[in-house]
Chain length 273, copies 2
């Protein structure tokens, strides 16, 4: 039997990470759990985010997952360390992979990060980058208009270009960065707009791609890679509106999703934490 890999997110944003995981690890089976009913996590208090995240984790542990991907920047910032210390399976977040990719890419050590207000104010990226190389200079910018725009399905065209251009203006002013991290799982869907606005000389890093790459390494490192050539059927769980989730997922993925279930996260499961 094929042990699945669990992916948790506050909503649909983590689907961009799931898409990359499925592309780079086509033999692996994934179970995605999006807490859409309580999304977004960004503005919630830390203790609440931790409680909600643990509820998702307990739910997926029942599915006998062999690895956990925290595909949400807020949940990663608040819970990754605790999860890594507590769970017996490998746990990967979305912040460190993007940071390491940026360090690899940047020649001048001037790195930009865009994300939600929560992610930028948490300083999670600057802390991670500077822990590895304290001489790196980090310029962060919150882009609160991007997630609503993307969730409305506005991914190209004049309106999208204008929003991206106006939002990124502070980042372009006098900056010499050579690398920009997309520090929000929604942003890969407008990577082409960000790249066009910043110019071809800027290396734009997508956390989803980098997280999938690191998941691949950790699976191999622990001898957990799926053998054989069976075609996996992925499962998607949501805590909120199923039709809305299905519509977003179908428009973001190349193929329609086959298994989608509504789940209720039992608050009792998390009482121990």
């Amino acid at each position: 039997m094929q042990q699945p890999i669990g992916v948790i997110d506050s909503g649909v944003g983590g689907l961009t990470v799931a898409r990359e995981l499925m592309r780079q690890l086509p033999k692996e089976k994934f179970i995605y759990l999006g807490d859409t009913r309580r999304c977004p996590y960004g503005p919630r208090p830390k203790e609440q985010v931790k409680r909600y995240t643990w509820q998702m984790v307990h739910y997926l542990l029942e599915e006998n997952i062999k690895m956990l991907i925290v595909a949400c920047n807020t949940a990663t910032a608040y819970t990754l360390q605790e999860l890594q210390q507590t769970l017996a399976i490998p746990v990967i977040g979305v912040i460190e992979p993007g940071a390491r990719a940026a360090i690899k890419s940047s020649q001048n050590k001037q790195i930009g990060v865009i994300g939600t207000e929560g992610t930028i104010s948490s300083e999670a990226y600057p802390k991670t980058l500077k822990a590895i190389d304290h001489s790196i200079s980090v310029d962060g910018l919150a882009c609160p208009s991007f997630v609503p725009m993307i969730e409305s399905g506005i991914l190209s065209g004049e309106e999208a270009e204008k929003i991206v251009s106006t939002t990124l203006k502070p980042l372009k002013k006098g900056n010499k960065m050579d690398t920009l991290i997309l520090g929000c799982t929604h942003y890969p869907l407008i990577k082409h707009l960000v790249q066009a606005e910043m110019g071809v000389d800027i290396q734009v890093i997508s956390s989803g791609e980098e997280t999938a790459r690191e998941a691949s390494l950790i699976l191999a490192y622990h001898g957990l890679l799926q053998q054989g050539n069976s075609i996996p059927v992925h499962e998607f769980y949501t805590t909120g509106d199923m039709e809305k989730f299905r519509n977003v997922a179908n428009s973001w993925f190349d193929a329609p999703i086959q298994v989608l279930e509504l789940v209720e996260l039992d608050p009792i499961q998390s009482s121990a934490n």
Copy 2:
């Protein structure tokens, strides 16, 4: 006290990996051991390469290293699995990081690999790539003229361009690859020539950069990253001509190397293996 990271290679090629390790992990101290006296390993029998590699490993274990990087494609192909299963410290080779980076990069699953005759005929890259995604198509090409050219210091100019152009011709013929792996640690020094010859649409993957990236992840994953901001003094050991080693190292690195020692690898140390 700062525990160093060991880097072993059959000669000087692994210095390109060491350079990237030092760039991406500036707080870490590295000890590089190049077995220049017995270089190259490529044409040697497998058992001999294993014996030589174990001698290097035993030497560095005496230095209390916290991680081992096998910065040599041949040694990686023959010994990585055994080293990972035997040693108590994390061990990283140069083949898997390049393969995973190529899977991340390639959109059309058509990947090229260039390397020495030994590396190409070992099929190490196709095996690693296909173990993760069996639908990937791999086109390998041995480039025996590249290492002598690079070790002669010919890294640019008309002669170098001509050699690169002639050598890579079979790879360009009717091929639709979008990603090319530099499967030899010498090749990053002529990456610009390979890129110019293959065209800007081809993503050229340098194993050294990718190995350093993965070393960074594994260090973080095991809580082994160096704390504080001390400036490390790296050490270089060679089994062969010291002046030749120093000249190559000084011309490949931005700063001259400070500590260089001649070492003799004791055959008795490897008798247990």
